[in-house]
Amino acid sequence: MPNSSTKQLAHHRRERLWMWAQLSPVLIILTVLFGGALILAVMQSLGFAPWFGVNTFPDFSYFGALWGSASFWKSLGLTLYYASVSTIIALIMGTLLALALVRHFPSKTLYKYLYKLPLMIPYTVGIALAVIVLGNGGMLSRIMAFVGLIGDPSEFPQILNTHYGWGIIAVYVWKQTPFVTLTLYAVLLGVGRETEEAAAILGANKFQIFFQVTLPQILPGIVSSTLIIFAFNIGAFEAPFILGGGFPDTLPVVAWRYFNDADYTLQLQGMATVVSIAMIASGILYSYLALYRRYERRIGRT
């Protein structure tokens, strides 16, 4: 006759089996679609493309040619620059907005709808808005002409199509500030104000309360939102393609140029670029997450 611990073990095993059964649909899709595509991409980048008459697998020359060129590193620098600057600006703006939204003010309901507007607008529309506002013949240049600062569209400082990427950063920030706000606002509502009140009773000023009480509490929201927007920015194609400064392009644009080339064997080089983006992005994001986990452990949060 089985004792109670054996029964418990069997029950636990059944629960685990049921959990895996529930997870299996999403796991199968992820493994087959994402994992399969990833394996195929890596194999192509290593010279496996018999449908193009190329099969030199395993051949690292595509990575060698890519990483050996100076333009690759310039493109990588630009990609990381656009991604990190826009992520940092969106984070600061989104945090300030979320902190303001938890306060009480008359038009709060209106603002709660208003700040979400860019989330519903596609990136291509955001890019069109940047062209209409920031272009040489755009609204800003008209305003500058109206106040007498410039007399010709060519005198307007170039914001779009430069390697400084002001236009790209503006579109990313415009689209992603609401996303950061949405995440942090939800976290702030969940956290409540009790710990802040306790800190205030103990004599902390508003800066101490923010940096020592509020910030550690909203850090999981900050990490998850910045992780998502940075991952998007590093692999984004449309904004750098339309608003970028041309050669050297960002890595996703470089990859697209290889894929779009009349010489279709260059698609393998494009695949090496895509795999490089994936490796760099996952390396950065994994390090970021590992640092955050370490911090969590250090403060006793698991």
Partner: protein
């Protein structure tokens, strides 16, 4: 002093900075739509005009005045 700090730290109203910031954010989010809406109604909007010189809505009347033709005359 502690009481003042306490009140300031736990104020549930917006600070002056936050009021200005919310206005700037509203401008940043909604601002780009203004030229887009104007552009969508503009027939001719040359630089450096702040508003279009010809709107789409007045264009049929201008064509009628110039040619004597109405919108129906353009119908297939």
């Amino acid at each position: 002093m502690v009481g003042k700090n306490f009140k300031k730290a736990l104020n549930t109203r917006l600070s002056t900075f936050q009021k200005i910031y919310l206005l700037l954010i509203a401008g940043f989010i909604l601002g780009p739509f203004i030229p887009l809406v104007i552009q969508s109604f503009a027939f001719r909007w040359a630089w450096p005009d702040m508003l279009p010189s010809t709107w789409w809505l007045e264009q049929p009347r201008k064509i009628h005045d110039a040619t004597g033709m109405g919108l129906c005359d353009f119908a297939l």
